[in-house]
Symmetry: C2
Subunit: 209 residues, 2 copies
DNA sequence: ACAGAACGGTATCAAATGATACACAACCAA
DNA sequence: TTGGTTGTGTATCATTTGATACCGTTCTGT
C-alpha cells in the first residue's frame, strides 16, 4: 500500500491535517509475517509502531513459561514500547506478530513534541496508556486472586465475545501460554468443563455452550 | 502550610512560572490521617491528588484478600486516579493513607489542557504512567512466575533498600496483604528464612541479615 | 505413502498454598 | 494491674497446580 490518504482510512483517530502531514513525512510502512519478532525484552525502542492491520502479541517470559500481556490490534500501539521509547529505556517484554500485519513506524523522538502540538495525538497516547493499564490491572487481579480454572473460562468467554463467535481457535498449548500455566493443566481443566457441559472440545478449537 | 512558594520546594518537577501560578490558583491543599480512604474502587475521580508529604497505599481487593499495587509518595500522583480522571471513568482500586499526608488536589478537567500548555506537566504525567506501568509489569511477572517465598524475600529487600534500612517494620498480616496471600503462609515462610539465617524476626519487625 | 511432529488425555506423584484451629507471648488502654 | 487485642508459630488437612511419563490420534511435509 502506498503511504497516502489510504492510511487515514485506517487511522481515524487523528484529526489535524498538519499532523497527518507529519505522519506521512516521518512515517514508514512495514509489513510483517506471523512469527516475526517486533519487540524484544531488554531492547531499546527507537521507533514507535502503530498497527494498521493485523496483530502483535505482547507477553512476558520466564525460564519455562510465558504469559500474555495484551494484543496490539489495528489503530493501536504497544504501550510498553511507547513507555520505553519516550524515556529512551529498554522494553520489558516481547512482541510477536500473530498474523500478517502492517505497521506504521516513526522515530520515538517525535512522541513528546507531537503531544504538545497535536491534541489528538496526545489524547491517543493517554488513551493507549489508559486502556493497557486497565487491561493489565484486570489481568493482575485475575492472576492474584482467581484459580486457574476460572481464568481459563474467562479467557475463552472474552475471546469468543471479542471475535463475535461461539468458538475459540487455539490449542491447549497456546491457551496455556496465554495464561502462564502448563498444557497438561489446561487439558485437564478443559476436559472437566466438557464433562460439565460448559464447552465442547475439538482439536485446535473450543466451542462455548 | 499556606499555599505559597513553600509548595514549590516540595514540587520541584514543574518549571513554568505560569503553570505554578495555575497550580496555586486552582489547587487546594488537604491533609489526611492514617487510615483515611482517598480513592474507592468504582468511584468517579473528579480531582487529581499530588502527594506533597506522606504516603497513600493503592491496592486491589477480593472477597477475602488484597494485594498491593503501589505506594504514592511525595511528588507523585495516583496513576489509576489519573487514568480514571482523564476519561471521567471510575477508579479500579482502593487508596488509603498510611501516614500523615498532605495532598494538593485540582480539578481533573485541567489535566489535558495543561498537557498542551506546559511541557513539564506533560512530562510529569508520562513519567507517572511510565513508572507505574513498569511497577505493575514487574509485580505481574512476580505473581505469575515466582513462588510466594521468593516474592516475600524480594519484597523485604526492596522495602529495606528503599528506606535505607536493614529492617522492615510491618506485621506478618500486613506483609500477607501486600503480597496477596495469607498470614499463616507468611509466618511459615519467614520462620523458615530465619532458620536459614537470612532474616531475624521480631514482633512487628523483620531484620535482613 | 509414510515418518515425524503436534496435539490431547490420562495417570501418578510432588510441591506449594490455603483453610482452620489452637496456644502462647507481647502490647495497650482503661 | 488487668483484660482484651494483636501478633506469631505450629499442626493438620485439603486443594490446587506443576512435573513427568506415556499412549493414541491427527496433521503435515517430503
Amino acid at each position: 500500500m502506498t503511504i497516502t490518504n489510504d492510511l487515514f482510512k485506517k487511522l481515524t483517530f487523528f484529526s489535524e491535517p498538519e499532523f497527518k502531514g507529519e505522519l506521512l513525512q516521518h512515517g514508514q510502512l512495514l509489513s510483517f509475517n506471523k512469527g516475526d519478532v517486533i519487540v524484544r525484552d531488554g531492547q531499546y525502542v527507537k521507533f514507535l509502531p502503530i498497527v494498521l492491520k493485523g496483530a502483535i502479541r505482547v507477553f512476558q517470559q520466564s525460564e519455562d513459561r510465558e504469559i500474555l500481556l495484551y494484543y496490539v490490534r489495528a489503530e493501536e500501539t504497544c504501550t510498553i514500547s511507547l513507555a520505553a521509547a519516550y524515556f529512551n529505556n529498554k522494553s520489558t517484554s516481547h512482541g510477536v506478530v500473530t498474523e500478517p500485519t502492517e505497521v506504521l513506524i516513526f522515530p520515538a523522538s517525535l512522541i513528546e513534541q507531537w503531544q504538545l502540538k497535536y491534541p489528538s495525538w496526545n489524547r491517543y497516547v493517554m488513551q493507549m496508556f489508559r486502556t493497557r493499564y486497565d487491561q493489565l490491572i484486570s489481568s493482575f487481579q485475575g492472576v492474584a486472586f482467581e484459580h486457574i480454572d476460572v481464568r481459563v473460562l474467562e479467557y475463552l468467554k472474552n475471546t469468543a465475545h471479542n471475535e463475535g463467535s461461539k468458538s475459540v481457535c487455539l490449542s491447549h498449548q497456546q491457551l496455556a501460554a496465554e495464561l502462564g500455566t502448563t498444557r497438561v493443566v489446561v487439558s485437564r481443566i478443559l476436559k472437566e468443563y466438557e464433562r460439565k457441559k460448559k464447552i465442547k472440545l475439538f482439536r485446535g478449537r473450543i466451542e462455548l455452550l
